[in-house]
């Protein structure tokens, strides 16, 4: 069975590394993009099965990236997991049209929550 690919879009390098560590231990093939421009390039290159996305990124915000992804048929179908400090200010209902399936709160989540969320959206 193909190993699912996860793209982590997170500008805090050490937090991205932490997500990668947890996902790799759980058997996923994870890749990091530190900003939205790198993410767009990597999405074209690796065709991730799921994207973990921080909201406030260096350069452009996640919302610019979400708009970009929705502009194309193939990328618009990639499930998105938002992982943010601003989770309490976001509504999953408002973000569903952008492919967002889950919202994780960085301030309260457990390390394994990211694995559970990925597993859940890939079901």
């Amino acid at each position: 069975m193909k190993t699912p690919k996860v793209l982590i879009v997170e500008d805090d390098e050490w937090l991205a590394e932490q997500h990668l560590r947890v996902l790799s231990l759980a058997g996923y093939e994870a890749t990091i993009a530190l900003h939205a421009i790198a993410a767009i390039q990597l999405i074209d290159d690796i065709h991730p099965d799921v994207i973990i996305l921080d909201v406030l990124l260096t350069g452009n915000t996640a919302f610019a990236l979400l708009h970009e992804l929705q502009s194309y048929g193939d990328t618009g179908k990639i499930p998105i997991i938002i992982c943010s400090n601003l989770a309490s200010e976001l509504s999953i209902d408002n973000l569903k049209p952008y492919g967002v399936k889950r919202i994780l709160d960085k301030t309260t989540m457990e390390p394994d929550d990211v694995v559970a969320a990925v597993r859940n959206v890939l079901l």
Partner: protein
């Protein structure tokens, strides 16, 4: 219409009317390092990581905590600015920046980045408060660390302007360029000496820059930002000391 004393403005609207930076902005700035420290600690608690990973994570916890503590210390200092008289004295910026580079080197190395001082042949003197100027440059450098690309260097540079009357200390990062609207917003906010709104600078409330502008004001200085194709330069302009010309 003004706010009643002690009444807090909204996060996006800047400082409290009593001059204190927004508590919400401070909370936002501290969320990221605390969330990271928490994630790393929880991971370490599992105890089944290779020793090298454990050491690396512990180092990251220490360095992240130090950055967060610098912010809390700056906040305390900025709140007390109006109560205190700051000693302005002739300072050799080269020496000060060398100390800062030495202090920040471990943090930058841990991020696979470098910080370096562009050296000058002729030393300059400026008039400033040593502690406040140090905090400003540390703040710019912290900011640059976040924005600069992997394996590249942040450059600190000292420039003489206006026939030597103004000394500019610059911190240059090499990363994704700031979007034009962000740059304009930043320049406007810096000019007005108010915190940038949370969405004007991605992932930051601009609190650090706001505090820096307060520190600069206390020394009759001015901070600003210049956009480049491949990054940005944050700078502070200060009066040159005339002491050398008297020699």
């Amino acid at each position: 219409m003004g706010l009643a004393p002690g009444e807090h403005e909204q996060f996006y609207n800047g400082p409290l009317n009593d001059g204190l930076p927004s508590i919400v902005a401070a909370a936002h700035e501290l969320k990221s390092p605390l969330a990271l420290v928490r994630q790393l600690s929880l991971m370490l608690e599992t105890g089944d990581l290779p020793l090298a990973d454990q050491k690396r994570m512990l180092r990251q916890i220490s360095l992240t905590s130090e950055r967060a503590l610098r912010l809390t210390s700056d906040l305390t200092r900025s709140v007390r600015l109006s109560d205190a008289l700051f000693k302005l004295e002739p300072i050799n910026p080269q020496q000060l920046c060398e100390d800062i580079v030495r202090e920040l080197a471990p943090l930058f190395t841990a991020h696979n980045r470098d910080v370096k001082l562009v050296s000058r042949k002729h030393h300059l003197l400026l008039v400033a408060n040593r502690d406040l100027l140090r905090r400003i440059i540390m703040n710019f450098s912290d900011n640059a660390l976040h924005y600069t690309e992997n394996d590249s260097a942040v450059e600190i540079k000292i420039v003489s302007l206006k026939s030597g009357n103004i000394i500019r200390l610059c911190v240059r990062d090499y990363g994704p360029a700031l979007p034009i609207d962000t740059l304009k917003s930043l320049q406007g906010k810096l000019a007005n000496c108010a915190p940038t709104p949370v969405h004007a600078r991605p992932q930051s409330s601009g609190l650090g820059l706001y505090i820096s502008s307060q520190f600069a004001d206390a020394m009759n200085g001015r901070i600003g930002v210049t956009q480049h194709r491949d990054g940005a330069t944050f700078y502070i302009d200060l009066q040159a000391s005339q002491q050398l010309s008297l020699l």
